[in-house]
């Protein structure tokens, strides 16, 4: 596979762009693979990539029932940050953020990583205390964040109304190297790199059953026939419960809809990501000029990728108070994704009751930012049976009472 470079663009310009290859191949499935990953979203593809890159395991298939990156990878608001309170969360999210820094070079694919800064507004006194605590915790964890004053908030985001009557801005938790990246490109870049290593990415191939022999995984049944494997990774976010049922165990996970929306494009007016967790809203401006807005999740089980309208109304109503400038903006599109919420709002990267089946799920509303770190840790777990990044996120933490309580950071907005 040819590398993308300035030279390649020049070369193709001279021959009417006839030499570009497909970014990844679409082979028919083989009868057997060493590792099968179910789910070709960001997390599944990143897992496959680091299995190959870090552990030399390339006899890998990534199965996808729809199309590549068509689930939550293509439905999020592309925010990347790692300003978490608890040590295990900070470790895996900061690993992910650090990998994002030079992932474009690593994958030879432009992810448009834009470390424009992420600002989490404190609009109540509880939040002021909470975020100051997070800033102190981050200092100990080696995650670079700082507490900034309302005046600094106003300097960074001139369109913000810092003395709103109901929710004045009292300060913010600021992560300078947080930001955004192009979500589709993350899936495409990993897919291309996996394909280059000889892995098979098989789209429109739905898993219909998981075969077990003597408490071990033997393979999967799919709409393209049975495929055997030595190890199986379930990386399917909202549909984790459905696959766990096929494998014969239950999960502490519930699937709910989370929505986002974008406005009509306007001139550049905000060059950082702003999150306002008190009012359940967050916003950034895309390169096209659209204001990208996300809000809270619905409260009931739902697999339809459609959310309730009143959540959008609540989000927009709240944001208008902090950003009066958007009050007359028209909204272009709205969509929903199915997020898998665990009891403590932290992910699960773990072995399962079935030997050689591993599960990576429960990222809930915060999966995109963690893709490289999740793939890195989960590949280590699948290849070696243990990973320091994943250890705290094991499935048995619920039974043992080792919760990673990030609901402050993860239950609301990402």
């Amino acid at each position: 596979m040819k590398r993308y470079s300035a030279f390649a663009i020049a070369r193709e310009a001279l021959r009417y762009h006839t030499g570009w290859e497909r970014a990844w191949t679409s082979p028919e499935p083989k009868r057997h693979y060493d590792v099968i990953i179910i789910g070709a979203g960001g997390h599944g593809l990143a897992t496959a990539y680091y299995l190959g890159k870090n552990y030399g395991i390339t006899n890998v298939a990534v199965l996808e029932k729809g199309w590549l990156g068509g689930g939550n990878t293509g439905r999020n608001t592309t925010i990347i940050r790692s300003n978490y309170l608890q040590d295990p969360s900070a470790a895996i999210y900061e690993k992910a953020r650090a990998l994002y820094e030079d992932l474009s070079q690593d994958l030879n694919y432009n992810l448009m990583f834009s470390p424009r800064g992420v600002m989490m507004l404190a609009q109540t006194h509880h939040e002021v205390r909470g975020y100051k605590r997070t800033a102190h915790a981050n200092a100990l964890q080696g995650v670079k964040t700082e507490w900034i004053s309302p005046q600094r908030v106003k300097e960074l985001v001139p369109i913000i109304n810092i003395d709103g009557p109901r929710y004045p801005v009292l300060g913010a938790l600021w992560q300078e190297r947080g930001g955004t990246a192009r979500h589709d490109a993350v899936a495409w870049g990993y897919a291309r790199a996996c394909s280059r290593m000889g892995m098979h990415i098989i789209q429109k191939c739905e898993v219909t059953g998981i075969r077990r022999e003597g408490g071990k995984v033997a393979g999967v049944d799919t709409t393209k026939g049975p495929i055997d494997c030595n190890k199986l990774g379930l990386v399917v976010a909202g549909h984790s419960g459905v696959l766990a049922q096929m494998a014969g165990f239950r999960l502490p996970v519930e699937s709910v809809a989370l929505q986002a929306l974008v406005s009509e494009p306007i001139k550049p007016c905000m060059d950082v990501v702003v999150m306002a967790n008190t009012v359940h809203g967050y916003m950034s401006q895309s390169d096209k000029g659209e204001m990208v807005i996300g809000g809270g999740a619905d409260g009931f089980n739902n697999y339809t990728q459609r959310g309730s309208f009143h959540h959008i109304e609540e989000t927009v109503r709240a944001l208008i108070e902090t950003f009066p400038i958007i009050s007359r903006l028209k909204m272009l599109r709205q969509w929903g994704g199915i997020v898998d919420m665990t009891g403590d709002r932290s992910p699960i990267l773990s072995k399962t009751p079935v030997e050689n089946i591993f599960i990576n799920c429960g990222w809930g509303t915060g999966g995109f930012k963690s893709i490289p770190g999740s793939g890195w840790g989960f590949a280590q777990l699948m290849a070696t049976g243990d990973s320091p990044l994943c250890r705290a996120f094991s499935l048995d933490r619920f039974k043992e009472g080792r919760f990673i309580d990030e609901s402050v950071a993860a239950g609301v907005a990402h």
Binding site: G241, R250, G299, F300, N301, T304, R306, S308, G343, K399
Partner: protein
């Protein structure tokens, strides 16, 4: 928009009147139960793609808890029934069977 009929006051309540309360018919395990049972009671959920039984509260209405049978893949509502029961009544199960032959949900199918 989701509309559920409150089985107590008979009002067709839309979503903003209601508060979701998660999976219904959980068997409550407490002191004396095994760790496994207690864990499952607290955390393990069916989370099916399809027929689902759940608890709702008519929060901005009569304030009472009730149960609903719903399809999580289509948002179709099969019916609602009072919460003073440990399993879905026969007419609800029949209504689901009529629409989803061969449905399964724990031991209730």
């Amino acid at each position: 928009m989701l509309i559920l009929q409150c089985p107590y006051c008979g009002i067709d309540a839309e979503e903003t009147e209601l508060a979701p309360g998660g999976e219904a018919h959980l068997k409550r395990h407490g002191p004396g139960s095994s760790d496994e049972d207690f864990h499952d009671y607290l955390f393990a959920r069916e989370n099916p793609r399809g027929v689902h039984f759940e608890r709702w509260r008519h929060a901005n209405g009569c304030g009472k808890w009730f149960h609903a049978a719903r399809d999580t893949a289509t948002l179709e509502v099969f019916g609602t029934y009072p919460a003073q029961t440990t399993e879905p009544p026969k007419e609800i199960r029949d209504a689901i069977t009529a629409r989803r032959p061969g449905w399964r949900w724990r031991e209730f199918s």
